[in-house]
C-alpha cells in the first residue's frame, strides 16, 4: 500500500528534477585523466583535486564527467570522442600524459571544443587553436634559469640531457632564451638515455670543458644519477636541474651529492617560501591549504595544482562566454574558446597565465622559481 502511494509522487519529483536540469543547462566539464597506467602517479592527485572542485564555477552550475585513459593514447581519444558526442561537454580537461594529450587535441579541434591540456603538449603550428596548456613551457622555465645564472655571474654552461624530446626542447629553448637575454653560452652538450647505467664518459668530457655551471635535463628519480656523476668527477661549479626534477625523489636518491643544486620549479609547491612580491603567493597558498586539509600535510603536488588552476581560468572565462550562448550549444563552446584568449593576465597557483591568439602556452616570465637544495630540503632563492 505504502509503496503504491509513493510511486506517483516520486515520478513527479523525478520529472521536475529533469526539467530543472534542462532549464538551467549546467556547464559540463569532461575530464580525460590517466588514473591508471604509467602516468597514474600524476593522474591520481589530479583526481583528488577534482573532487574538491566547487559546485558552481563562474556563477554557473557545473557537472564533471571523469573518464580514465589508462595512459593509453587510443583509449584517451575514444574517451574524448565519447565526451563530445554522447555527453556533449563544453570543455575537455586532460590528459596529464603528453602522448595522450596530443591526440586529444585532434578531437577537440574537430568537434570545436575547448581543450585544457594538463601536459606540455607540443603541437605543430596552427593545430592548437582549441588547445590551451596548463603546465609551463620549457622556454619560460629556461628564462628563469638564465636570469638566475646571469645574477650568479655564470658565463659558460655545460649541458647534460636526455636524448629524447624533453632534452631536445630544453637544449633549443635554453639556447634561444640565453641568446635573447645575452646570457651564458653552452660550451659543451652531452646526451644520455634514461636507462643508462653510467654517464661517466659524458661527465668527464663536460668537466674537461670547465664550464661555470652545469645544466642537467632529466626527470624524477633519474635526475640524481647524472648529477652525482658530475660531482664525482670533481666538478665544483653550480649545477642546475629542470622542473621535471623538482620532486623530493632528487634528494631521496641523490642524498648529500645533490646538496647545493639549483632546481627551477613552478611556485605552487613552495607556497610558504615564496617572497611576498611573487604574484602567485596567495593563490599557491590557497591551493596548498585546500589540498592538504583534505589529503594530509606534505601531500601537495604540482599536478594537483594544475587541476586547481583549471577552475580559476574557467571562473573567468565562463561569465564571458555565457553571454554568447547557452551551455551545451556550439555557440557557447566557441565563445568559451574565444574567452580564454580574452581573459588576459590571470594569476594562478602555478604562476601568471596570459593566453593570446598566438600563444596558447600562456605563462609569463614571472612564473619560474629557483629552488636550492639546502640540508635535503627546498629553499627558495
Amino acid at each position: 500500500m505504502l509503496k503504491s502511494a509513493f510511486t506517483p509522487k516520486l515520478l513527479v519529483a523525478g520529472a521536475i528534477a529533469l526539467a530543472a536540469t534542462q532549464a538551467s543547462a549546467d556547464v559540463t566539464i569532461g575530464v580525460v585523466m590517466s588514473m591508471t597506467g604509467p602516468a597514474s602517479g600524476l593522474g591520481i592527485p589530479i583526481g583528488n583535486q577534482i573532487k574538491l572542485w566547487p559546485k558552481k564555477i563562474g556563477g554557473e552550475n557545473v557537472k564533471v564527467i571523469l573518464l580514465d585513459d589508462a595512459t593509453d593514447p587510443t583509449k584517451g581519444v575514444q574517451n574524448a570522442k565519447r565526451l563530445v558526442t554522447e555527453d556533449n561537454v563544453d570543455v575537455i580537461a586532460g590528459s596529464v600524459a603528453t602522448p595522450v594529450a596530443i591526440p586529444i587535441a585532434g578531437v577537440a579541434a574537430e568537434s570545436g571544443t575547448l581543450q585544457l591540456a594538463l601536459a606540455p603538449a607540443v603541437l605543430p603550428p596552427g593545430q592548437d587553436t582549441w588547445t590551451f596548456r596548463l603546465p609551463q613551457s620549457t622556454a619560460v622555465m629556461a628564462h628563469a634559469i638564465v636570469t638566475h645564472m646571469k645574477k650568479q655571474g655564470v658565463k659558460t654552461v655545460g649541458f647534460l640531457g636526455y636524448t629524447d624530446a624533453y632534452g631536445e626542447a630544453w637544449l633549443n629553448d635554453f639556447k634561444a632564451q640565453s641568446q635573447a637575454m645575452d646570457g651564458p653560452k653552452i660550451v659543451a652538450a652531452e646526451r644520455f638515455a634514461r636507462s643508462d647505467t653510467s654517464v661517466t664518459a659524458q661527465a668527464l668530457k663536460l668537466v674537461a670543458a670547465n664550464p661555470d655551471a652545469m645544466l642537467i635535463v632529466a626527470s624524477g628519480s633519474g635526475a640524481a644519477m647524472p648529477h652525482l656523476a658530475v660531482v664525482d668527477r670533481g666538478f665544483k661549479g653550480k649545477i642546475y636541474q629542470t622542473h621535471a626534477a623538482a620532486s623530493r625523489d632528487l634528494m631521496r636518491v641523490g642524498g648529500k651529492g645533490v646538496e647545493g643544486a639549483y632546481v627551477v620549479s613552478g611556485p605552487a609547491v613552495v607556497a610558504e617560501q615564496l617572497p611576498a612580491s611573487h604574484p602567485s603567493k596567495p593563490v599557491s597558498q590557497a591551493f596548498v591549504d585546500q589540498y592538504e586539509a583534505a589529503y594530509g600535510k606534505g601531500n601537495r603536488n604540482q599536478f594537483a595544482a594544475h587541476a586547481y588552476d583549471v577552475v580559476i581560468l574557467l571562473d573567468k572565462a565562463i561569465p564571458i562566454a555565457i553571454k554568447k550562448g547557452k551551455p551545451g550549444t556550439k555557440e557557447f563552446r566557441a565563445a568559451l574558446r574565444d574567452a580564454m584568449e580574452q581573459i588576459g593576465r590571470t594569476v594562478v597557483s602555478h604562476g601568471v597565465i596570459d593566453y593570446t591568439k598566438t600563444d596558447h602556452w600562456g605563462f609569463t616570465n614571472e612564473t619560474g622559481v629557483i629552488l636550492k637544495v639546502v640540508n635535503g630540503d627546498w629553499k627558495v632563492e
Binding site: F192, S198, A201, G220, S221, V253
Partner: protein, 345 residues
C-alpha cells in the same frame, strides 16, 4: 683525449663490462643447457637492486608477494600435472609443498627481517635468497612443458616472459627509481685514476664468480651433468640426467647471477623496475660475440661492449646505444662467414 681520460674511460668500461660479463655467462649457460634465449635475464638485475633498496628502506620488498604468488602458481600447475599423470594424491601434494617450501620460508624471513634494520650484508644475502628461487619457478611455469619445442618457440615465450615480468615489476616495485648505498665506501687514487671501493667489489665478485662457475662445471657431478645436457640432451637423458632438473638448476643459477649483478650495479646507478632490460640486452650482445656457446669469449665480448659503450659515450654520447648495438652486425657477419651452418630445427 690524453692518457688520464683514456684511463678513466677504460676503467669505467671494464667495470660495466664485468657486470655485462656475468649476464653474458648466464645467457650462454641457459642457451646451451635449455636452448632458451633468455631475454628477461636483465629483469633479475632490476629485481635484485630494487629488493635490496626496499629492505634498506625498512619495507617488505614487493619481491615477497611476487615470489609467493609465482610459487603458488607453479605448485598448482605441478599438482594438476601430477594428478593427470596418475600420481597418487598424497605424492602430488608432497610435490607441490616441496615447491612452495623454500619461497614461503624465505618470504617469512624477509617479512621478519625488513623492519629490524640489520646491516647491509644481511640484506644483500636475503636479497639473493629472495630473487634466486625466481629462476626455477619461471622455468616451471613458462618453459618446462615446452622443453622440446624449437628455439624460435622458446624465444617467443621469452619475449612474453619479459613483458610479463616488466609489467609485474611495475606493479610490485612502483615506478620510482632507487639507488643503493655502496658496499664499501672507500676511495683509492692510482695515478690519475680514482678507484672506488665499489669498483673493486665489482671486479672481485665477478671474477670470483667466473672462477667458481669454472670449477663447478669442471669438478662437480652436477656441473658435469649440465655440461652433458648442453652437449647432447638426448644422450644425457640416456645416461640418466633429467633434462627438467638440468633446466631448473641452470635457471636457478641464472637468477642468482642476475640478482648478484643487481647488487653490484645498484650503488652506481639509479635502478628502475624496467632498467634491467637494456643491461640484460648488453649482456646478450656480449653472449652473441661468443656465439652463445663459449664462456671465455663471452667474457671478452662483455669487456668489449663495456669499453665500446664508455668510449662511445665520450665521443658521441647521442649515438652511444646505436654504436653498441650496431657493433653486433659485423660480429654476426664474421660468425656466419667463419662458421656457416643451417638451423637445426
Amino acid at each position: 683525449m690524453d692518457f688520464s681520460i683514456a684511463g678513466i674511460l677504460a676503467l669505467d668500461g671494464v667495470t660495466n663490462g664485468a657486470v655485462y660479463a656475468l649476464l653474458a655467462l648466464a645467457t650462454v649457460l641457459l642457451f646451451t643447457v635449455t636452448r632458451v634465449i633468455f631475454i628477461p635475464q636483465g629483469e633479475f638485475v632490476a629485481f635484485g637492486a630494487l629488493t635490496l633498496a626496499s629492505l634498506q628502506a625498512g619495507k617488505v620488498p614487493g619481491t615477497v608477494s611476487f615470489l609467493v604468488g609465482l610459487a603458488v602458481l607453479a605448485a598448482a600447475g605441478d599438482f594438476v600435472h601430477g594428478l593427470r599423470t596418475k600420481r597418487s594424491a598424497r605424492s602430488a601434494v608432497l610435490h607441490a609443498v616441496r615447491i612452495l617450501a623454500f619461497p614461503v620460508a624465505v618470504s617469512l624471513v624477509a617479512i621478519w627481517v625488513a623492519p629490524r634494520g640489520y646491516p647491509l650484508w644481511v640484506h644483500a644475502l636475503l636479497t639473493l635468497a629472495l630473487v634466486t628461487p625466481f629462476g626455477s619457478l619461471i622455468y616451471r611455469v613458462a618453459y618446462e612443458s615446452l622443453a622440446d619445442a624449437s628455439v624460435l618457440v622458446l624465444l617467443i615465450v621469452s619475449v612474453g616472459v619479459h613483458f610479463a615480468l616488466t609489467g609485474l615489476g611495475l606493479y610490485f616495485f612502483g615506478a620510482e627509481g632507487f639507488r643503493n648505498p655502496p658496499f664499501w665506501d672507500e676511495r683509492f687514487t692510482v695515478g690519475p685514476l680514482a678507484l672506488s671501493g665499489q669498483t673493486i667489489i665489482v671486479f672481485v665478485a665477478s671474477n670470483l664468480l667466473i672462477v667458481v662457475l669454472w670449477l663447478y662445471f669442471g669438478r662437480t657431478i652436477w656441473g658435469k651433468a649440465l655440461r652433458a645436457t648442453a652437449v647432447n640432451r638426448t644422450g644425457a637423458r640416456l645416461m640418466g640426467i633429467s633434462s627438467s632438473v638440468a633446466g631448473r638448476l641452470s635457471f636457478t643459477m641464472a637468477a642468482f647471477v642476475g640478482a648478484l649483478s643487481g647488487l653490484l650495479i645498484g650503488p652506481t646507478t639509479t635502478v628502475f623496475y624496467d632498467s634491467g632490460f637494456l643491461i640484460g640486452l648488453k649482456g646478450f650482445v656480449a653472449a652473441v660475440f661468443a656465439g652463445l656457446s663459449s664462456y671465455p669469449l663471452a667474457l671478452v665480448g662483455a669487456t668489449l661492449v663495456g669499453l665500446l659503450e664508455s668510449f662511445g659515450s665520450f665521443w658521441a654520447s647521442a649515438f652511444k646505444e646505436v654504436i653498441v648495438f650496431a657493433s653486433i652486425l659485423p660480429v654476426l657477419l664474421w660468425r656466419s662467414l667463419r662458421d656457416p651452418h643451417g638451423e637445426e630445427h
